[in-house]
Symmetry: C2
Subunit: 606 residues, 2 copies
Amino acid sequence: MMKILFQPGEKLIEVTSNSTLLEAASKAGMLIDGSCNGAGTCGKCKVRMIAGKPDELTAAEKKILTVEEVEAGFRLACKTMVKNDMVVEVPLMHGGSNRKKEMNQLPAGFKLDIRLSKRHVKVKRASMKYQKNDLKRLEDALEIKELTIDSQILSQLHPTLQEHKGEVTAVLRNDQLIALEVGDTELDHYGLAFDIGTTTVVGMLWNLNNGELVDVEARTNPQSNFGADVISRIQFTKEGEENLEFMQKKIVQCFNEMIQTFAIKNGFKPEHIYDLTVVGNTTMSHLFEGVDPESLARTPFAPVFCQGVNGTARELGLDVNPLANVYTLPNIAGHVGSDIVAGILATDINQLKGITLAIDIGTNGEVTFAHDGKISVCSTAAGPAFEGASIHHGMRAAKGAIEKVKIKNGQIALEIIDGGEPIGICGSGLIDAVAALLEAGLITKNGRMITKEEAIEAGVKKELADCLIKSDMGMAFILYQDNARAILINQSDIREVQLAKAAMLAGMCTLVKHNGFKLEDVDRVLIAGAFGNYIDKKSAVRIGLLPDIGIDKIFSVGNAAGSGASMALLSEKLRVEAESLASSATHIELSMNPDFQDEYMMAMRF
Amino acid sequence: MMKILFQPGEKLIEVTSNSTLLEAASKAGMLIDGSCNGAGTCGKCKVRMIAGKPDELTAAEKKILTVEEVEAGFRLACKTMVKNDMVVEVPLMHGGSNRKKEMNQLPAGFKLDIRLSKRHVKVKRASMKYQKNDLKRLEDALEIKELTIDSQILSQLHPTLQEHKGEVTAVLRNDQLIALEVGDTELDHYGLAFDIGTTTVVGMLWNLNNGELVDVEARTNPQSNFGADVISRIQFTKEGEENLEFMQKKIVQCFNEMIQTFAIKNGFKPEHIYDLTVVGNTTMSHLFEGVDPESLARTPFAPVFCQGVNGTARELGLDVNPLANVYTLPNIAGHVGSDIVAGILATDINQLKGITLAIDIGTNGEVTFAHDGKISVCSTAAGPAFEGASIHHGMRAAKGAIEKVKIKNGQIALEIIDGGEPIGICGSGLIDAVAALLEAGLITKNGRMITKEEAIEAGVKKELADCLIKSDMGMAFILYQDNARAILINQSDIREVQLAKAAMLAGMCTLVKHNGFKLEDVDRVLIAGAFGNYIDKKSAVRIGLLPDIGIDKIFSVGNAAGSGASMALLSEKLRVEAESLASSATHIELSMNPDFQDEYMMAMRF
């Protein structure tokens, strides 16, 4: 067995010499991006050797790592075999730091409407004159005629009543006793809403006494190590019999780590969490429930289930109160999940007048159309371009990513996340860059990047024209260059952007048309997801990712999925509404839709 | 480690040399009576060494075992340490063989009224035209708008639908899907009712499609090895922290063994059992639910719970369908348990005209009074005399027990269970014997056994007078004698019988009086329990165990607790009725009742 110490965090793990560093990292709970699922082609799993001698570079690594990176000790974790004891540094991921501020407030007039309550009472002792059983005396103290009680709680009833002279706090779900605690614990009354993103898991901790947000935590989805997108994760679960359970355990473990952190940071016991809601896309919902998602990867993309599921924390292996209810919101279709349903709840678009489009930009881009309470949805395979995955120098919105690009008077101005030297470009930077290149005339309407010669001929400033070079991937534009590296946008990247934005826009057009309207009839476009907070709306309209209906009609609504999950946590009425929304929404399957194919081809143009 | 082979059954177990044979037997699952909880005083745990050399006899064994028994290889299992490999024969217990015939039929007009159903359907495959999720397609096939589904079943949904072209059998509890099985399994639809007696556990297997009894099994309650009566078992659970869980596991294991036997004998899978009901006295209910019964052993005898409890088989560790509901019927008070409630259900005494008394004779004798639908109950500490436990030559109703005694013309006629030589006397034999001795004038009204001289003087036949001898325990009557042994009834035994019958009769008198009646107003007496089938009613009236209201008004109702448990299994309506019966019945605590003390003293006389 070899010892591997991962930094930062000083996680020590012992593995056999047959393991890759990626496997070791996964085992140690270190989160490493594994977009290509260990193929050694995406280059996202770079780690730095601090100590320990790895094997010679593999062919895959030679292809991807620069000499400078190799000299600095970088290797691909998926290709590096553990040969001896090692100390390995894992580059930090960005995100999650300021999440609480980013959380949308609950809508004005939102009312706490929960079935849970905590009640501190003193239960009288039995005597020959008051010769009632423990449960009956508790019922008397609570003034409830008949409690429903689980056999697990029953076994704690007697010792709990004995401990503090009968002073107890009952945790009730309507008339069901879900916990009985010694003394007065009325103040410790928490609920959790989880949004399982394919990439990021966000947990929101709520005080169930007053409906106030207590804390927010975010983690990279640990399933990422086994595929960046839903299709590669479904693929992974098919590769081994135990993989489905493994994937479920990964997400449960992630929840449990967040729960632990919440409890420590906020000074309460995990058992004081009594209610949970979960949203995610349909694949994430299936994996969380331990349900095989294989049918989501092939036509007709039928999920195993759509309706909301109630389970107990005990069954799911969550380290909160064992009888806490865990409500997973309903999905609409194979690629329109409960995160979209939650988004509808949060934005209340079924109540808005006029026509609203809500979009969630991602590998699967979901579009929601609402008109006078009628909802239609579709999902479109936008691809991972805006998540940086299919882009040559693309990366997630993490430290070192170029997040804003402006070109003015021949000068390129970049903004880097957390400052410093850029190491890649993320989605919002990419949109800016393509928009700026279009404005500067370096990309044609068809998406072709012109040559330096063409640029000079067209009167483009020399500083910019000089940035156009020929590369293996066709023409490329140098966004940034120093002695160590260059960050380029190449022709292939432009094509990826075209495919992605065309899919999103065609999805919107098809839904609008299906409902008998035109794009110009749309009254507002809502962009869900943290991504919406960062992208430049003008740039997005310029490249045709968003329809040109006027910047003032485009709104970023933040993590609408998380807000919706929270609202369902805090309101029974909204859970009923979620079920009814999900079952009444019209799902348009785009792969069957001839309109979509036409729109898609048209939307490819800039 | 030493090897111990137990016969019959050839159970092999390995134990350390620090174990007693009783511990080894318990570990091997052999059922040995342990009335005195290992004190070495009751002599019930005799076993015979077939091979292997035990230590010298202990003082306790010398006191109890006869020389002949020692020569035949008998030892007390609780006092014999394992010293080397041994082969040990455990005397067989009686009972359970013909149980099915003994079961009461369900009352005429009884109607099956269950929420469970099994439905075989073919679920259509999803297609682009029928693009619904698995669950929705199942709902379509079942013509149910919305199924409630457990997350554990959800994970089996997809593979189950794939396996047999969508042919499945859904097991439904109202609209809740509790199992989904491949193919057509409609015929395999079973439920189980358990009656946990302190001594004997009876399981009744029912076909839930037609409400017919399929099979009955009985086992000695494996908790018996840790105390014969409820008080010594409560004592045992207090002796070690893990003992409560241990006792629960014992009874669950006993259930599981019976379930296994049922399944093998009747050719179905244990997973095809979907519903269970359980009755027992309050201590048995508490132990089964894993609830500490300690408060039942001290005033005010308040139980932890009375109301019925619903749990799942999965939670309780029962090897049937994991989502099978396990309903434990409600208790009435600390020593009036759900077995009594079940008895009321089965005998329907709240519907009978006039005044009915129902009695359950045991260590705790429970008495139920019913008049025009009004029910009162009490429990009285009758002691274990009729179970043979406090009687010098007493034994349970097992092979070799004297079960009937007649004295006619100076001749003693005995009936032995399963024939052969008698080895002790059981409850029904004891009642007969005392009645016969009273008739013969050998016992006075005060319960004194006269001397041989007094007998001769009173003109008793010589053959009988010769049976009166002086013993360590006062006068004794020789019931049986051969070269090897004598079976005696001594003065102390008579006193035990007096205490037991007085408690029962005083309980009846007190209840009747409490309700404003006299014993002669009683229209009928029902005797519950298998015991009722065996006792001679005339003898029981003669000794004053039953009131003298005429033999034609005394009825044996068999295992009413088991019948009631079965009826609750087969009828939802009766479950509701059980709860209402249990909470509306008036419980009279006899230890507080001055009438009872008076009645008790009076009832001591024969």
